[in-house]
Symmetry: C2
Subunit: 399 residues, 2 copies
Amino acid sequence: MTRVSVLITNIGELVTNAPQDAVSVASPGPFCAVNDAALVIEDGLVAWVGPAAQAPAADELTDAAGRAVLPGFVDSHAHLVFAGERGAEFAARMAGLPYSAGGIRSTVAATRAASDGQLRAGLARLAAELAAQGTTTFECKSGYGLTVADEARSVALAAEVTPEVTYLGAHVVPAEYESDVAGYLDLVCGPMLAACAPFARWVDVFCERGAFGADEAAAVLAAGEAAGLVPRVHANQLGPGPGVQVAVQAGAASADHCTYLTDADVDALASSGGTVATLLPGVEFSTRQPYPDARRLLEAGVTVAIATDCNPGSCFSSSMPLCIALAVREMRMTTQEAVWAATAGGAHALRRTDVGHLGVGARADLVMLDGPTHAYLAYRPGVPLVARVWQGGVALGRE
Amino acid sequence: MTRVSVLITNIGELVTNAPQDAVSVASPGPFCAVNDAALVIEDGLVAWVGPAAQAPAADELTDAAGRAVLPGFVDSHAHLVFAGERGAEFAARMAGLPYSAGGIRSTVAATRAASDGQLRAGLARLAAELAAQGTTTFECKSGYGLTVADEARSVALAAEVTPEVTYLGAHVVPAEYESDVAGYLDLVCGPMLAACAPFARWVDVFCERGAFGADEAAAVLAAGEAAGLVPRVHANQLGPGPGVQVAVQAGAASADHCTYLTDADVDALASSGGTVATLLPGVEFSTRQPYPDARRLLEAGVTVAIATDCNPGSCFSSSMPLCIALAVREMRMTTQEAVWAATAGGAHALRRTDVGHLGVGARADLVMLDGPTHAYLAYRPGVPLVARVWQGGVALGRE
């Protein structure tokens, strides 16, 4: 927490995601930006937003020198508790082999074999990497343990670095349960859930051919809900399937991937009232698969988030800036839509009202870019543009 | 220059681009790497390379902790002397408008209007950005002045930051010469060349519909050669055309872009003996155009380089790591081919024997990655993986 008030002034473009005449709204609004702006941080929160010329005095002053300031990125989908790496699998895939969820099992073996200290160190490295790239809120899933003990330590470790912990015992059926899927589901919905629920906020299931079907997924989500967890679903990534419908029916906060959708799926998301479509373009980049049709979702009125899916298999990128550039280049989102989806969209997908926007009262999670507008994230792809980051009002920047 | 010898040990993978049994070769060889390696820097040069277990003593020790070390990237195509920016043009293009070379003129107007100090500051910012991303050698073109005075100051400013300065008076016909192309070519081949040649090593021409035709391009290159400059050519970017043939016939060091090639073009490059095909995938990413067919060129035996083309219009990325990731994802190059093209390939395109490899005697231009192998540049796209950079033996790193 900041003990003193900090005025950041001379902001070329301040993305607030809060209408200018209602900057004290307490949740993310539509994409909004103020030019030649200033912002005051106090007690870890945004205390004032407006034109630089009208800024109040503060204890400390930071000159943005015309650069853009955005809400910190909200990465609502990441798998960060694991050991090992799958660089060879990546190279094979780039040489033409298809992605299959089966590769998950190699990470499961490495994760089970790792010590708590090794897992904690890997997680700390990735958390630092996320922060350096402007991600100030992130979700973290289990799912590479797949035993009661290994899932429980995964969620416990995740809870050390983020409140947005997701129990994903239903990531894939582990090898030892290959011929007893029902037995594994009993474990996932019984003792494994009981061991994990105290550390988690969310329950997730990989509803996909090769993983879990509609009834299985619904059972996992229902069990999780009964234990106090809120559902989210891996849906319709590798082919058409029931994932989105399962998600909407369960009142999930998010259906993630959404590449292969029917009109009924799009309608279900649009009329869901609370199920965000979370798109993960880094996965398509890293697996050379078709990108989801973001325009179709946006035009139907679906709330769209962008996240990394950072994981050692299908996308080992933790870069929200790259995801924004891919959303613009490959999914034809405007720069405004992409930045909104990576901030306010992620907040919606995590049902957070305190992040993803910079209205008065929001958490002072800020990113300052080496560039005058948010559009530079797509205009200058690959360039490390994150000049400075504030998390809860505390500067983490590399300046 | 280092005053003392530095031993970098515990290198997980050391990419040398020099056969292990001939590490003292004085020019880039094929892709080669040594595992569990060490390297000694002395007087700004690579003094020793080999297995860590056999490393000699040195004055200072750096522990790579299993990380990969590569030759510094050689960016053989960049336009860094300019003022202004074209973010709005970028956004329009992403919204569906095609890229046209005409946008160059807006940068010409801004560049002419800028002071020397403004141009120098912009160039310094970009040069620092390149270095931070692991680029230790870069080419820099003029081409946004297009008057004798403005081209001369562009090459003079470029020469302050790199020896690889390219005179590109023949970038586009400026508006004031629209109805007198012959008159502009007289200027380019006459007084403008005379003013620029003392500061430049290379002469380049944009041989493309909407810019300069075959005869015009050949005349520019011949005039440049007569003034002591070595040719390079912007060729076959926007459509089929004579660029590659002009380049090969002029003995150019490089034909750049190479998207629209006939079999005869590929044959000409393969049998040229010295004309590299420089691919610029950041441009295709940023203009949503088709990528060049790298596999066709590689399979024909053409020497392929990768470069950024960093410029405010068609690709405002300075990221060689992104170009490598795009080369793998979009052009189906292997990670080895892509890294070679971004190091040794660039060195060939600049006819440099001292960079692009880490044989004994090479310049100690090194990149240390936050990752165990070169493949991480593609496996972890968008993540700032450059942990530390040495340029001529001097550490620039951010560690």
